[in-house]
């Protein structure tokens, strides 16, 4: 029911193309290239996480903890 209404409602001889979902109108690169692209994206993802994690794994400068220590004292410190 969903398929029918969208292809009818939205005019155009292109309606059929829309139903073949994963086919962009631009010429596709050969299959091995899109595998390659996926590989590259995965590699970028790995490096991106590495870039982020490098900072996450740095020791936290003491000023940060100092802030919370000060906050503790000023908030009535029952400890």
């Amino acid at each position: 029911m969903r398929d029918k209404s969208t292809s009818d409602g939205e005019n155009s001889p292109k309606g059929v193309d829309h139903m073949i979902d994963q086919q962009p109108t631009r010429p596709l690169p050969p299959v091995e290239n899109s595998d390659e692209a996926r590989l590259r994206q995965r590699a970028i993802g790995v490096k991106l996480r590495q870039m982020f994690d490098e900072v996450v794994n740095e020791p936290v400068p003491d000023e940060f903890l100092e802030i919370l220590r000060r906050a503790d004292n000023s908030s009535g410190g029952e400890r």
Binding site: R40, A43, F52, D53, V55, V60, I67, L68, A71, S75
Partner: protein
């Protein structure tokens, strides 16, 4: 010991303690997010500290047991953009210093590829950069990233997708320009590095 139900009954110092313990664990992540937003280690820590203070001051409005990471990231991000509005000039001027800092912070063993990725990230429009970092490195779902950025889920998805394509394009194009050969070195470095990393895991 489960459930936000238990947590929600906490008050006063006991609640503050729980809140603070969770907040402390997020500091490294806030620093990393700030670093990617500012591109500068010193500015990033200033920003992260401001965000930490803001989060602490706003602790009463946080519901214990919900996603504190997303909440603090949102605070940090808001802080970043309000700072930026106040002094957009200084971030521009510091761009060079930022690049030096990033390189300086690097492990000497760290591969070229990482610097190139940083540079590629630095050229992205801010909203694409933050979306890619949140989803691609920060471990947030699209929905959470959308909440942090105050935009629609679909917007985040398209920003992430455009950012990914742009980064790949920049890395590939950069190598073409450098030595005139079609062998894309930056991308090649990243590929081999990524392989090494995932093998090590």
């Amino acid at each position: 010991m489960s459930a936000s139900e238990d947590l929600s009954t906490l008050t006063g110092a006991a609640r503050d303690n729980v809140f603070q313990k969770d907040l402390v664990t997020l500091i490294p992540h806030l620093r990393a997010f700030a670093r990617t937003l500012t591109g500068n280690a010193t500015q990033a820590d200033d920003l992260a500290q401001d965000a930490l203070i803001k989060a602490w001051d706003a602790r009463a409005s946080f519901q214990l047991g919900t996603n504190m990471k997303a909440w603090t990231f949102m605070i940090l991000r808001n802080q970043f953009y309000s700072d930026k509005r106040r002094s957009w000039r200084s971030t521009q001027l510091d761009q060079e210093a930022a690049e030096r800092t990033l390189v300086a912070v690097d492990d000497p063993e760290s591969p070229v590829a990482l610097d190139e990725l940083r540079q590629a990230m630095a050229v992205l429009p801010a909203e694409q950069r933050e979306a890619l970092i949140l989803v691609g490195a920060g471990g947030f779902a699209y929905e959470e990233a959308a909440e942090i950025c105050g935009c629609a889920v679909g917007t985040v998805k398209s920003r992430v997708s455009r950012a990914r394509k742009a980064v790949q394009g920049i890395l590939e194009a950069g190598a073409y320009g450098r030595d005139g050969r079609p062998a894309d070195e930056a991308m090649g470095n990243i590929l081999s590095e990524a392989e090494r990393l995932s093998a090590a895991r």
